[in-house]
């Protein structure tokens, strides 16, 4: 640490800068963050506790099984797996946790997609945007997910909302990347055809480019859902309720069995969500 050459410049206070920046943002934008926290938090609570938890588990499981059956092309595999898996979660007393987790994952994914697709489109149309945003996406995906928790707490306090915020940062990049890629991959002749017949930019986008890019975009959305789910345990560290919190508390109390059960519940949810979003993609391919 006493190397005379390397010490020419004293330690740069990057950490202080970021802290200062975070404080500033929290202060300046609190008029945005606070209402988001309150209203979005209330909405999530409403969705998890007043809607999802009020659906009788039996009906919920049946509905998922039916959805799985039709979306996988009228095959029974996924439907049967959904019934057994979800029943097992119920059986282990994790139903309410499951509903909280589903709320977190669905909302985080939905927001990721709503934000990610327009950014992806923008990147596909603009070289400058593409060059500027790509490194940001790399940064978002490689920075350890725990790091996002700190500003998330600063902005939104503790609870579900900062969980969604952290998931959003972590899970949005695949949707952006795949949307960009999907549109860029549309064959040049098809784009020329759209232009040659006198399409406006919007017509070209909605009638040709997005429909052609759909399978690729859906693959990106599938990735986004999976990443949002993978954030569940991490988000529980800042007070997000759900299966993740069970895993975390089992860890803190060194209860291997409880941890395993909650972990299995996450795996079951992951498999069901993955297969459903994948098949959604394939169905559109036909």
């Amino acid at each position: 640490m006493n190397d005379p050459v390397l010490n020419i410049i004293p330690e740069i206070p990057i950490a202080e800068w970021i802290e200062w920046l975070t404080d500033k943002i929290t202060d300046v934008f609190s008029f945005i963050f606070n209402p988001i926290n309150t209203h979005f938090g209330n909405f999530m609570e409403f969705m998890a506790e007043d809607i999802l938890m009020n659906i009788p588990p039996f009906i919920f499981i049946l509905a998922i099984a039916v959805l799985a059956f039709f979306i996988s092309g009228k095959r029974f595999g996924l439907a049967i797996f959904s019934i057994i898996g979800l029943w097992l979660i119920y059986n282990q007393g994790h139903w309410d946790d499951l509903m909280n987790t589903v709320t977190l994952v669905l909302l985080a994914s939905l927001l990721s997609v709503l934000i990610g697709i327009p950014i992806g489109i923008w990147m596909s149309k603009s070289k400058v945007a593409n060059a500027a945003i790509t490194p940001i996406l790399d940064f978002m995906q490689t920075m350890p997910a725990f790091v996002y928790l700190i500003p998330a707490v600063a902005f939104f306090g503790i609870g579900m909302v900062p969980g969604v915020f952290a998931s959003l940062i972590f899970a949005t990049p695949p949707t952006v990347r795949f949307t960009n890629l999907g549109i860029r991959q549309v064959s040049k002749e098809l784009v020329e055809a759209a232009d040659a017949f006198g399409s406006t930019g919007a017509q070209k986008l909605f009638k040709v480019e997005l429909p052609m890019a759909k399978p690729t975009i859906m693959a990106g959305i599938n990735q986004t859902v999976m990443l949002a789910l993978s954030m569940v345990v991490i988000a529980s560290m800042i007070g997000a309720r759900g299966l993740g919190r069970e895993v975390l508390s089992a860890l803190q109390r060194a209860e291997a069995g409880t941890g395993f059960v909650a972990g299995i519940a996450i795996v079951i949810l992951a498999i069901i969500m993955d297969r459903i979003t994948q098949n959604f993609n394939k169905k559109k391919d036909d």
């Binding site: 002749e189 055809a193 232009d195 017949f197 006198g198 406006t200 009638k207 052609m212 759909k214």
Partner: protein
């Protein structure tokens, strides 16, 4: 007024287009410009005009700039310099909005790889051009249907393009272009991706359609046979420049330079040349005036063993052989009708060399070229072979 008129149209790809343009005007070649500026000359000061109802073929090998040229016409590629007059209006100077309007109303394009939208049905594909003009659904469906029926696909409305063969897919491409009822069709190697038999069918069909539609068609191809079949006029391109413009015959018979000549060497002349190109003035005797003696005399003069017989209105009656004529003279027969033979092989003026070849192959006498029963000329075996070999005397005056 020509429907399409292109003046001084130039496309230079690269960054330093101004310098490249200057060099081009000073007469530098494509290679020199590439070396000095790093720019590629795509199209070099092209100029031509196309009349209403004409099929104008632009032909060249790959890299000759023909695909760039056609994309300059509807500004899928922005020209570096030059004018593109469509009905007298300069497309090159139009803003986005005006350009879109012209593309919607006047220009339609057919693509080499069909460029159909795989997620749309055949009908929806044909509707595309009308749909983006916001035409009401019922009306555009009706028009698209008519266009599909025109190309013989009235029964495939709900299929997806992937379910159709290549030839059928390109019919959809053609129907999509026709549904707009454009004045001009731009066809970029439209039949090049099809196998040879289908390609020929499509060419015939295009000619058929054209005879009733009378569109102005700009057809791009690398295939000279195709160019000769379809084109009213042909422009030959090399290295971005138009080397020669002319009717198929003019290009075949009087190639402008070595490049064109080399191109033309490969062409199957038997499909292009017709009887009228190789026929000769016939030696004849008149059945109303002449007898065996005159016939024999003429045959001896010309060194031939048979002679065609006509009447006073040049109607072909038959032929007589030298043997028969000398027999008749010995027997003092004075009328030609007694020794007249009528089993003459005849062809019409526009019979192709290919067909003539098979006829003349087993005929002992020359083939007669007949126009409204009148003898227009004769074809001897030698001139067929000479024409096929590409060094025969070909006379365009007989057209």
């Amino acid at each position: 007024m020509p429907v399409i008129e292109v003046k001084n149209l130039t496309k230079i790809f690269g960054k330093n287009t101004k310098q490249a343009l200057k060099l081009l005007e000073e007469g530098a070649t494509k290679e020199e410009i590439l070396k000095k500026t790093g720019c590629t000359v795509g199209v070099n000061r092209a100029a031509f005009s196309v009349e209403q109802g004409e099929i104008f073929v632009i032909m060249g090998l790959s890299g000759s700039g023909k695909s760039t040229l056609v994309r300059l016409i509807n500004r899928l590629i922005e020209p570096t310099e030059g004018d593109i007059l469509i009905d007298g209006e300069d497309l090159a100077k139009m803003d986005k909005h005006q350009l879109r309007q012209v593309r919607r109303e006047k220009l339609s394009m057919v693509f080499q790889q069909f460029a159909l939208f795989p997620h749309r049905s055949i009908l929806e594909n044909a509707e595309f051009g009308l749909e983006i003009q916001n035409m009401p659904k019922e009306k555009r469906k009706e028009k698209a249907k008519q266009a599909l029926e025109l190309v013989g696909l009235g029964n495939y409305l709900q299929q997806k393009p992937g379910q159709l063969s290549g030839g059928m897919q390109q019919r959809v491409g053609l129907a999509r272009a026709l549904a707009n009822d454009p004045k001009i069709l731009l066809m970029d190697e439209a039949f090049s991706a099809l196998d040879p038999l289908i390609r020929k069918d499509m060419q015939d069909e295009l000619i058929d359609l054209q005879s009733s539609m009378q569109k102005t068609i700009l057809f791009i191809t690398h295939d000279l046979d195709e160019a000769l079949r379809l084109g009213d006029r042909i422009a030959l391109m090399k290295d971005g420049s138009i080397v020669q413009i002319g009717t198929p015959e003019e290009i075949l018979v009087n190639p402008a330079n070595d490049y064109v000549e080399r191109f033309v060497e490969d062409v199957d002349r038997s499909k292009v040349l017709t009887a009228s190109h190789i026929m000769k003035r016939p030696e004849t005797v008149n059945i109303e005036k002449h007898g065996p003696r005159v016939a024999l005399e003429r045959m001896r003069e010309e060194g031939i063993s048979s002679i065609f017989v006509i009447d006073g209105k040049r109607k072909l009656k038959g032929y007589i052989t030298a043997d028969d004529a000398s027999e008749a003279r010995k027997k003092n027969i004075t009328s030609l009708s007694e020794i007249l033979r009528t089993d003459i092989p005849t062809v019409s003026k526009d019979t192709s060399l290919q067909e003539i070849f098979s006829i003349i192959y087993d005929s002992p006498i020359p083939v007669a070229v007949v126009d409204n029963d009148r003898l227009a000329g004769i074809i001897v075996r030698g001139s067929v072979i000479a024409a096929l070999a590409g060094n025969g005397e070909v006379n365009l005056d007989n057209e």
